[in-house]
């Protein structure tokens, strides 16, 4: 196991990992005692040093608790009592035979995921609901989906539930929109269901545009039927016959799989007229977007489907009242849709038990940046940032210090180390000065300049501004100009105040969420890393060494006069005789850094 994890510290010598659910119900059911029992039993049976014990948060399976998971191989034991431990340790760990009577079968949709994943560091602390089938089933084969209780939720609502029951169940679940704003999904369904109209639409927003985010793409590519099933259920609940998936043309594989899934679902009578021989009919079509970021905003998306230029319009009226072609429209994003079948099958109450007071269920994040394990992680709401970065993400490469974490995509905020114990939910993140967004999460270490980072994000948002409203169109441009001059060493006193003044005005006055959130990276970095801005402006210094214009390269006493730097310098900024200490002419130097890379003696310092 060493080879793959070169440079990573999580090399485990232990043969087994036991994960014990440490949720309140399991504790009540003696999970603490079980732990003691495990520890003593391991010692007794001579396995010391070969087994590590982990505690997990609530796994949402309280009725089956206490839960003990044995890895590798993912075997989940339920209703474990301290008395069961000796047998489990002996039979499973020593002899390699799981204790059949205690193994939980696939009761819940989501827990299958762990069954085939041995990667406990990464997956063991996650909880996969929306991604429950991703990486498990063949997404291009409807049989695979059917075999894992696919479309059973649809069959259930058509058999046993009235449309109002479905809405009630979604409301009960406490699910909130996963597209960013976190509006209660059940309420949205209810508003749309209550509208009287001959025509209503259901839309899946798959216009994922955040740089570095790919949650929706992965979900569709890994499990397209889940999204379809969620939409059909919604169609039944609100009285719509027509669904549209708006997805960007840059996702050809996801589109191909959706097309295949739609065709297969039609063939099986799961889409089209009289679904599953009921009197409910619903069909779904795909509309491709051309990749404008703003088309992820619901009113712009609707305009785009209508064939107009994708620009947001003021709300109200909300799409639930007047949406696509002026008809009541229910629009949710991919991740939200993927939760629906689970909520229907396992119940709103079950879902509601996961997460925090105000934010229920799980959230998928695209974990990226300076972290060992990058990738998609799905965690229960309420998980701390620290847990994601260090436990799931495996910490920062080379054990560099953590500097900040940026959540919520290009319009999220940057949170410094003191916020690492912030719980992930809509309110806590907002309180900390960031947003949930659609789930981007970028870990930043000391090598990143916060001013450049803010500049990078505002460059993106100003580029993707639709150009409709003044604050976003003109204001983000001016913010970019100010940030650019700061990073180029031309910052002026008062620039920080100008950025704040513009930023607050843009937040308060812009037409849509893109503009309203565009200043977040800047305002949050000013708040948390103001000294970096001041250094750039006053001292013309970039502590991360990222702003090329603020760097100077200096030859130190380690120089042996080999001349390597002199040879690579494209502008002849290095002078010096052989075997003597060289010198870099600062006003000639273009800060390309080639001398720095070429020096074998660490004789050039960035300052």
């Amino acid at each position: 196991m060493v080879d793959l994890r070169k440079g990573e510290q999580h090399v485990n010598d232990q043969k087994y990992k036991l994960t014990l659910c440490d949720g309140p119900t399991c504790i009540h059911n003696r999970s603490r005692e079980i732990r003691e029992s495990i520890e003593s039993e391991i010692e007794k049976q001579g396995l010391s040093g070969q087994v590590s014990i982990h505690l997990s948060g609530c796994l949402g399976m309280c009725k089956k608790g206490p839960i003990l998971i044995v890895n590798p191989g993912y075997v989940m034991y339920g209703q474990v009592q301290p008395e069961d431990i000796p047998a489990i340790i002996k039979s499973h760990l020593v002899e390699g035979n799981p204790v059949a009577g205690k193994v939980i079968q696939e009761d819940h949709l989501y827990n299958r995921f762990f069954r085939i994943f041995g990667d406990v560091d990464f997956f063991g602390k996650q909880m996969r609901i929306t991604l429950r089938n991703c990486g498990i089933i063949d997404p291009e084969n409807i049989d695979d989906y059917l075999s894992v209780r696919g479309y059973e939720a649809l069959a259930k609502v058509l058999t046993e539930m009235k449309p109002t029951d479905v809405v009630a169940e979604v409301k009960k679940s406490g699910l909130r929109g996963r597209g960013g704003a976190g509006f209660p999904t059940g309420l949205k369904w209810e508003f749309t269901a209550n509208q009287k109209s001959d025509e209503k639409y259901v839309i899946c927003n798959a216009d994922e545009g955040d740089p570095g985010a790919f949650m929706d793409r992965s979900a569709i590519e890994g499990d397209p039927h889940t999204v379809l099933e969620g939409m059909v259920i919604a169609g039944y609940a609100i009285g719509s016959r027509k669904g549209i998936i708006y997805i960007r043309a840059e996702y050809p594989l996801a589109i191909a799989r959706l097309e295949k899934a739609i065709a297969a679902a039609r063939e099986h009578g799961l889409l089209g007229d009289n679904i599953l021989d009921s009197d409910f009919s619903f069909d779904i079509e795909i509309r491709l977007g051309a990749g404008a970021f703003v088309c992820g905003e619901e009113t712009a998306l609707i305009r785009s489907i209508e064939g107009a230029r994708g620009m947001p319009r003021p709300r109200p009226p909300y799409p639930s009242v007047s949406g696509l072609f002026g008809k009541p429209t229910l629009i949710n994003n991919v991740e939200t849709w993927a939760n629906i079948p689970v909520i229907v099958l396992d119940g709103g109450d079950w879902f509601n038990a996961i997460g925090t007071e105000t934010s229920k269920g799980t959230k998928v994040f695209a974990l990226a940046g300076k972290v060992r394990n990058t990738g998609l992680v799905e965690v229960p709401m309420g998980t701390t940032l620290r847990k994601i970065v260090y436990d799931i993400g495996g910490g920062i490469p080379n054990d560099k210090p953590f500097k900040a974490i940026q959540t919520g995509g290009p319009s999220g905020g940057c949170l410094p180390a003191e916020y690492l114990d912030t719980q992930i939910d809509y309110e806590s993140l907002a309180k900390a000065g960031s947003i949930m967004g659609s789930g981007g999460m970028i870990v930043i270490d000391e090598d990143s300049c916060m001013v450049s980072l803010a500049r990078f994000f505002i460059e993106f948002t100003q580029d993707e501004s639709c150009g409709k409203c003044t604050p976003c169109r003109e204001g983000t441009k001016r913010m970019l100009e100010i940030l650019t001059r700061i990073t180029k060493g031309n910052g002026k006193e008062g620039d920080i105040e100008k950025l704040q003044r513009l930023g607050r005005m843009i937040q308060k006055s812009s037409l849509c969420g893109l503009g309203q959130s565009a200043p977040n990276p800047i305002l949050s970095t000013i708040k948390n890393f103001r000294e970096e801005y001041e250094e750039h402006i006053r001292e013309k210094k970039c502590r991360a060494g990222q702003c090329a214009a603020l760097l100077s390269y200096v030859v130190n006493d380690k120089c042996v006069g080999c001349g390597a730097c002199k040879r690579v310098c494209p502008v002849n900024a290095v002078e010096g005789t052989r075997k003597e200490k060289h010198r870099i002419l600062e006003d000639v130097c273009i800060r390309c850094g080639q001398c720095y890379d070429a020096c074998k003696f660490d004789a050039i310092t960035k300052a």
């Binding site: 196991m1 060493v2 080879d3 793959l4 590798p72 191989g73 993912y74 085939i116 994943f117 041995g118 990667d119 990464f122 991604l131 089938n133 991703c134 990486g135 498990i136 089933i137 063949d138 997404p139 291009e140 084969n141 409807i142 049989d143 695979d144 059917l146 075999s147 209780r149 696919g150 479309y151 059973e152 649809l154 069959a155 259930k156 058509l158 058999t159 046993e160 790919f214 793409r217 992965s218 590519e221 890994g222 499990d223 996702y251 594989l253 996801a254 099986h268 009578g269 679904i275 599953l276 021989d277 009921s278 990226a368 060992r372 394990n373 990058t374 990738g375 998609l376 992680v377 799905e378």
Partner: protein
């Protein structure tokens, strides 16, 4: 009266049968991750290796694709599930590694531990 639930249960049974008839109960099941990210990392070539091996006479193996599991830095991934054994997952699989997994693991039953996730 036949309810939608009855229909879906029947459909599920038929689906399971179809999967089984495709060889699901083979002693070894091989899953290759095939999402955009995995394909970009080279999983198409890996898949081709396994297909080729089966075409060349490798028996008792059920080969299937699947979506992304989210382990971006270790892609492409290949998972081997053997009846009665602990499932294993290989990371950063290349064509060469795939050939070796075929030779050593699938044919001889040796788990190549250094490539495991």
């Amino acid at each position: 009266m036949v309810t939608p639930i009855d229909i879906i249960k029947k459909k599920r049974a038929q689906a399971v049968n179809r999967i089984i008839s495709k060889g699901y109960l083979s002693t070894k099941r091989v899953y290759v991750g095939m999402a955009t990210c995995e394909i970009a990392a080279g999983s198409k070539e890996v898949m081709a290796e396994f297909r080729q091996a089966i075409a060349n006479g490798l028996t008792d193996v059920y080969l299937s694709q699947k979506g992304c599991a989210g382990r971006c830095n270790l892609e492409p991934t290949v998972e081997v599930v053997e009846e009665g054994k602990i499932p294993v997952k290989y990371g950063k699989v290349t064509s060469e590694r795939a050939r070796e997994i075929i030779e050593r693991h699938l044919k001889k039953g040796e788990v190549i531990t250094e490539w495991l996730i």
